[in-house]
Symmetry: C2
Subunit: 158 residues, 2 copies
Amino acid sequence: MRLTTYTDYALRTLMYLAANRDRLVTIQDIADLHGIAKNHLTKVVHQLGLLGVVETVRGRNGGLRLGKEPAQINIGQVVRSTEPDFFMAECFDRDRNECVLSSACVLKGVLGTATAAYLAVLDDVTLENLIKKGSDRPSGSVAVKSIRVHSRPRSQKE
Amino acid sequence: MRLTTYTDYALRTLMYLAANRDRLVTIQDIADLHGIAKNHLTKVVHQLGLLGVVETVRGRNGGLRLGKEPAQINIGQVVRSTEPDFFMAECFDRDRNECVLSSACVLKGVLGTATAAYLAVLDDVTLENLIKKGSDRPSGSVAVKSIRVHSRPRSQKE
């Protein structure tokens, strides 16, 4: 289970803008910092602009800045916006669902509840939380160790 | 954010075996039912065998059956086993992480907490819960409506 790199770049962009609020930042700055293709990042920034969390100042000395205060930028809202979908099984995609179990199956509800729990954690986090350091970190900052990562190779067509 | 189709097929295989406990089932039965490539399903079944939740009976009249009682098969454990990873951002992959923010960043912890919340829901569900119908459904069976699905096209390289 993964978030898309699109979301990863969106969150990194917001964190960079939050850490550099004394100046306008260019897409090239962020692309260079992370070694990301500028074209890809331009799409990400466009999406963040539509969401109102990034503003673009045009002109020769233009650039990007946050469109809201970091405390007003909710990470759950950003991730909902940047992820194309949260399809946990074929039945989540109405247009393509051919699963014969659908009518009697409770799996969709269970996976939906799990996804809601995932997003609920992010709904409690703002961009301000992400850029705080040291003792101000949100409590989630150490919980990653509890996730067991497996070694099944990713070679199959997933 | 998606689970892999590999996990989707693993869960459907288990549900089919749980619903057909009076006989041995063949991989071909499940492949035909869902229109899945038999080769792909064979890998899934092999993985479920390693996990001890599916048994293979060899021979001319052989086939598959559950390796444990449905109430003993934990869905969280299955999903942890069938997903290749839970890499929510580049920094989750130690071998490939080049993110320059890593040392000071709390994003990894937040996304890790969200993932743990997702898996905690599945840890409370057994295969028996998934095949119960009507009023016995687990409480999660209606919560999927709370997930907002977005229309950002999936055309970009994710």
